[in-house]
Symmetry: C2
Subunit: 276 residues, 2 copies
């Protein structure tokens, strides 16, 4: 599973092509292409983690480029779990997670990309967006928080913004963790029935769930307008957590490999140094 051809095929399999008109119903959230069992998935995740760890250290030492990982999903889609599983094992020194909740305070008086730009990773960092500027074309579209023509303008604004980041050595990958509506039902029930998960349940989740089809439409628009070679969307089958984690780690790994981070040159004459 881990040979180069197989993994390349994976990225291709999940990447939304530029200007592609994808139908949300074509996604298979329950599928696990390329991996036959949970054991195989965990093994791949473990193997990838060691390599990601190594590459992250180089990225940090190099201090010349950054990786921005955008995570979007329907409620219960598994963003928190993915962050814990894939990025938890890394040193937090160079990894920064930003949660984008409903804007509040000064965020409300500023332009919508203000808080997003503020959180963009610096050189040497991996930045993880737990939700992102895409909320401004997802919930904003579904809940009509902005007029249609404003939403349309935002697709271009977001593309311009991501092009700018990319040209400034910030590599962008965007994941949609794709679960089925049935799977969401199971996970919401589990939040109701498990006391340790109760805190994650919000009555608002049901209102959003009722708008499932509208969110599917909004995601289709996002994929159509805002996936590109420089900032691709990957739609990951995410009903099976082990599969989701393995594939996200795989794509993060391949992206970091593409970035080829290098340790800086050693200071001169290290062999002359005497430490008394």
């Amino acid at each position: 599973m881990s040979d180069k051809n197989a993994t390349r095929k994976w990225r291709q399999m999940f990447q939304i092509q530029e200007d592609a008109q994808v139908s949300y119903s074509s996604f298979r959230p329950d599928s696990t292409p390329g991996l036959d069992s949970k054991e195989e998935g965990l093994a791949l995740l473990n193997k990838n983690t060691a390599q990601i760890n190594d590459l992250q250290e180089r990225l940090y030492a190099e201090g010349k480029q950054a990786l921005l990982v955008v995570l979007q999903a329907m409620d219960t889609g598994g963003k928190d779990g993915t962050i814990r599983a894939v990025f938890g094992p890394l040193s937090p020194l160079g990894v920064r997670v930003t949660n984008f909740k409903a804007p509040c305070g000064r965020e409300l008086t500023q332009d919508y990309l203000w808080r997003v730009h503020l959180a963009v990773p610096g050189k040497g960092e991996i930045g993880i967006f737990n939700r992102s500027h895409y909320e401004d074309v997802l919930i904003a579209r579904v809940r009509e928080l902005a007029p249609k023509d404003v939403i349309k303008q935002r697709y271009r604004q977001i593309n311009d913004f991501e092009a700018y980041l990319s040209e400034n050595n910030i590599r962008i990958i965007k994941f949609h963790l794709c679960i089925s509506k049935e799977e969401q039902r199971e996970r919401l029930l589990s939040r109701l029935q498990t006391s340790e998960k109760n805190w994650k349940f919000s009555h608002g989740d049901l209102a959003e769930r009722a708008l499932w089809n509208d969110y599917e439409d909004a995601y289709e628009q996002v994929f159509r307008h805002c996936s590109s070679v420089i900032a691709p969307w990957y739609v990951i089958p995410a009903n099976k957590k082990w599969y989701r984690n393995a594939v996200v780690s795989q794509i993060v790994l391949e992206t970091l490999q593409d970035m080829k981070p290098q340790f800086p040159a050693a200071p001169a004459d290290l062999d002359q140094v005497v430490i008394d």
Copy 2:
């Protein structure tokens, strides 16, 4: 001088048209078109200030749009003096000045527009940039802090950024306070000879002065690539401080008038309110 036709003619006179190839040598920093004396200039500034004050209060109360004023000039060009004269009389409640000095600390690890976006005015505010992102295509070009193709890319990135801001209700006007090289000599001498001004003198100023022609070239590129209807550059003759202040205030005033800020509707039934 203050009738509408005259002032419209002024804006037109100083605005760089989109894609125009202007030659820096065509500017007349010593001229004072439209105003015949210092007294006339001070009278206009005073008159404008009262109106700007009124409009700023409306802008703040309305809380729906912002004004961003970019100030760029050669050293000693008069940015600080303009800020004091034109914006000093306003309430600092809704006016925020940001000084962009050489980037340091975290600014250096972030993309170059990061600190700029962070400082963009919120709704209801007037933001003043004392230097700006244009340093990244001015000194960066002259001092070769970035490769030529990167500088070229930045013109487009800046245009995209400003288009985004403009579409998000942030009106942008950009002033180049244009002094002659002779005038700079006088002002630098005055900084050397006046003890209260000594602190403003830096030996680095002379090194920059030696690159005067390169800065002229860099400004010509900026005016050619980054002046547009939505974010125009105004080149203001600035050898005479009274003239510079009057014209900047005039253009700020006209811009605010264009923006038509309105007090929000009063709460209902104010006439029923009893205060005991």
